[in-house]
């Protein structure tokens, strides 16, 4: 282009700016237009509301657990009630929050826009998966209301099939149905990414968020059915009383473990991979640089997905798998650290010499980097055979997977929600409050879970509601941290809700980011793009952005 003067795209004049007259939120009115929508953006909003609801239910149980553990004596609840608390906390948080969180909300909203498509390939299937999510969620809540489940989230047999008189079948049915919701979401993403990319949007021009969701989708599609059939067998075994898993009848509980962890270990990567995608977007945007080693980061997602299927038996080191297979699984488990480290190092190189600014999403992303690194490195401890035997079923495990899932995934989720909030709603959130929330969450998180590493190392077992008095100091610290953490989670709920009505108008591209989603209006039109875009530049190309005029952009409807 010739040397005409270029203006950096639209920071709106706050006094005069209004939301676009026509957008996906006001295109149709009424509750029914939401409940029967095929629009991926509206379904994303439905999911966002739903999973927030379940997050706070799961969080309430976390609070009850920490409250019970404030004192060494079992003075709040009896042991069976405590078992129901941690079971419900686990089931709700894993299946109803962590697994769907980023894919079903941000992924649903963004993947079609990021690749230049008008919608996901199967809008009706997408809506169906939201309904399945709710039906499964209601089954889970029904199990809770009817009297609870005390199997833990793992439904371990033969405990779950023969020795417990709680609502295992109801809860398992719930998880089974939620599983299909997850399968359909993954299937939709894979087909959309394969078949619906806009002209010029090659695989290696796709934002890394799409790559990581793609990898997670492969895991959902291949892993979840195995969980589903396992739960069918558990339910059948419970109803009929004859067991493939019951050792007294010739069945093998290890078979359950193999089938269950074949899904549930990859499920960890289903949870973390989309979060890593968010982090790539956020770090690149607020460093004003292309993600260092784009291709390596993209392929590392695929590598994590691939390795994720070969590590499940490290959950069985103490359950009698042979020494040789334990060795092999130990080695394979540690291999997952390689692609994870590739990501961490590449993010670090992206930050190096970048023009870094500390907006709220970036604060959460930094939180992610620190916490996920700790979570990942303690994962190597647990992959190592000898250490694992010392630490299994202690609070060290609890701390480890909370660092990965809560420190990693939840931080990434919050980073993503803040990052794309202006795009989803057209409005900004109050900046100082949101930064306060990010810092509070980080402090609360560390205060909650760092003591648990020490507790576990000292030998405090998980899933007990009473403990020797010498563990009390650390438990009090942990509970205090959980309180701070709770405040950190409540804050966004309040100010994001506030911003829906009173937030400043965000404009199309408040972060000056390069992704396709920032080149359309906020909130977007129902059909996303007026004309199908032609992509002629790489992802995260900030030089391209600096040379783009506002006039070239087809945005407002």
């Amino acid at each position: 282009m010739s040397a005409t003067s270029y203006t950096i795209v639209n920071l709106p004049d706050q006094r005069t700016a209004t939301l676009p007259k026509r957008n996906y939120l006001n295109n149709e009115d009424g509750l029914l237009s939401w409940l029967f929508t095929g629009d991926h953006k509206r379904i994303a909003i439905l999911y966002l509301i739903s999973i927030t609801f379940f997050f706070f239910i799961g969080g309430a149980f976390a609070g009850l657990i920490r409250l019970e553990l404030l004192t060494p004596q079992p003075d709040l609840v009896a042991s069976d009630t405590y078992n129901k608390f941690f079971s419900m906390h686990g089931i709700v948080m894993i299946f109803l929050f962590l697994v769907p969180s980023v894919p079903a909300t941000l992924g649903n909203f963004l993947i079609p826009i990021m690749i230049g498509a008008k919608d996901l390939a199967f809008p009706k299937v997408n809506l169906l998966s939201w309904y399945l999510y709710w039906i499964g969620g209601l089954f889970t809540l029904a199990a809770l209301v009817l009297g609870g489940v005390d199997t833990g989230w793992t439904f371990t047999t033969p405990l779950s099939t023969h020795y417990l008189n709680t609502h295992v079948v109801t809860a398992a049915t719930g998880v089974f149905i939620i599983g299909f919701s997850s399968i359909f979401t993954g299937l939709n993403f894979i087909v959309t990414i394969h078949r619906m990319r806009a002209p010029g949007m090659t695989w290696f021009r796709m934002p890394l968020f799409c790559w990581s969701n793609y990898a997670a989708s492969v895991l959902m599609v291949l892993g979840t059915p195995v969980l589903a059939i396992t739960l069918v067998l558990v339910a059948l075994e419970r109803l009929v009383g004859i067991g493939v898993f019951d050792p007294t009848k010739g069945g093998d509980p290890l078979l359950f473990q193999h089938l269950f962890w074949f899904y549930s270990h990859p499920a960890v990567y289903i949870m973390i991979l989309p979060g890593m995608g968010v982090i790539s977007e956020v770090i690149s945007t607020f460093s004003r640089k292309r993600v260092f080693g784009y291709t390596a980061v993209a392929f590392s997602s695929v590598a994590i997905a691939l390795f994720g299927f070969f590590v499940w038996a490290h959950h069985m080191f103490i359950m009698g798998v042979s020494n040789y297979s334990a060795l092999v699984f130990s080695l394979l488990t540690m291999l997952v650290a390689v692609p994870s480290a590739i990501k961490i190092f590449n993010w670090a190189f992206t930050l190096q010499k970048g023009s870094i600014t500390f907006e709220t999403p970036m604060l959460y992303a930094f939180g992610f980097l620190g916490l996920f690194t700790i979570g990942g490195m303690t994962g190597v401890f647990l992959g190592a055979l000898g250490m694992d035997i010392h630490l299994t079923e202690t609070y060290f495990i609890v701390a480890h997977f909370h660092f990965v899932m809560v420190g990693g995934m939840l931080m990434a989720f919050l980073a993503g929600v803040h990052f794309w909030w202006p795009k989803m709603t057209g409005r900004m959130y109050p900046e100082s409050l949101s930064k306060l929330a990010a810092v509070t969450t980080f402090i609360g998180f560390n205060l909650t879970f760092l003591p648990q590493f020490i507790l576990g190392y000292l030998g405090m077992p998980r899933r007990y509601h009473a403990y020797p008095p010498e563990f009390q100091v650390l438990n009090v610290l942990s509970t205090a941290g959980a309180t701070v953490l709770g405040v950190g989670y409540m804050l966004p709920l309040l100010y994001l809700g506030w911003s829906l009505k009173y937030g400043a108008i965000a404009g199309n591209n408040p972060w000056q980011a390069t992704g396709l989603e920032w080149q359309i209006q906020s909130p977007p039109l129902t059909e996303n793009f007026i004309e199908t875009p032609i992509v002629d530049h790489e992802a995260y190309d900030y030089e391209w952005l600096a040379h783009k005029t506002a006039q070239e952009v087809t945005t407002v409807g």
């Binding site: 390939a121 299937v125 291949l222 059939i229 010739g250 093998d252 032609i534 002629d536």
Partner: protein
């Protein structure tokens, strides 16, 4: 405009309109696909992925079967001898016929012959229902022989087979207990398969109704093709179940 990201896509209007002159525009075209070809490819790809999830779903059951067959070989041999090969073989033939007519149905849709399509869909349904009918007969037989685990399962007939008129090797009591695992897996696997058939037959009724209205006679064949894939998948699962459950032990010496 070399750095314009969002610009008029030369394919959206002129070429798309030209393309639509070549192929007839179908009412089933969804707005979010650029072309009908893209829509059809997406649907087929989605179906294959779904079948992949189904393979993983059945895979858990096959894994359990292979594991226990190795462990409790004798119990599995005796139990599988209780299944009726004639009924199983008849069902295999019936299911293959049903798959054959489904394949013809897909062909009929592709060459736009409405009458033939409806006929073949009806025949597919007929053989599907016949399969389930025979399966019901088999299940009933299992009930009468006390082979349903958890209900009134009778282990003693495998401990003293001669007393019950069975020409089988007597099993030690703990091994005889394991026959329950075989029958549990038999019901889980054939039951899961039958469940897929029932869903499929439901879909067949719906597709036949739509075919009668002429929906698939104008070139919009994706639903027929994709259902065909599903139906063949269900056939193939049976083609693994039949030898594994019925035939595998019928070699000399057992």
């Amino acid at each position: 405009m070399d750095n314009a990201i969002v610009a008029t896509h030369p394919h959206t209007h002129e070429t798309a309109i030209a393309a639509e002159h070549e192929h007839i525009v179908l009412p089933q075209h969804r707005h979010h696909f650029e072309t009908q070809e893209q829509q059809r490819e997406a649907a087929t790809f989605g179906m294959w992925l779904f079948l992949l999830t189904e393979i993983m779903f059945f895979g858990g059951l096959f894994f359990a079967y292979l594991l226990y067959r190795n462990w409790y070989h004798d119990a599995f041999v005796v139990s599988s001898n209780q299944l009726s090969i004639p009924l199983g073989a008849a069902n295999t033939a019936i299911l293959i016929s049903s798959g054959f007519f489904m394949a013809l149905g897909v062909w009929a849709a592709e060459v736009k012959k409405q009458g033939l399509l409806v006929l073949f869909l009806v025949l597919t349904t007929f053989f599907g229902v016949a399969f389930l009918g025979i399966k019901a007969v088999e299940y009933h037989e299992k009930w009468e022989k006390h082979h349903i685990p958890g209900a009134s399962f009778d282990v003693s007939q495998f401990i003293n087979p001669e007393k019950y008129g069975l020409h089988e090797k007597p099993l030690a009591p703990d091994m005889a207990q394991k026959t329950q695992i075989f029958f549990f897996l038999y019901f889980a696997m054939t039951g899961m398969h039958a469940f897929h058939m029932i869903l499929g037959i439901g879909l067949l009724f719906w597709l036949t109704w739509r075919a009668k209205r002429g929906e698939f006679s104008a070139g919009y064949v994706a639903p027929i093709e994709n259902f065909g894939l599903y139906w063949h998948f269900v056939d193939i699962v049976w083609l693994f179940l039949f030898p594994l459950l019925y035939l595998i032990n019928r070699h000399p010496g057992t």
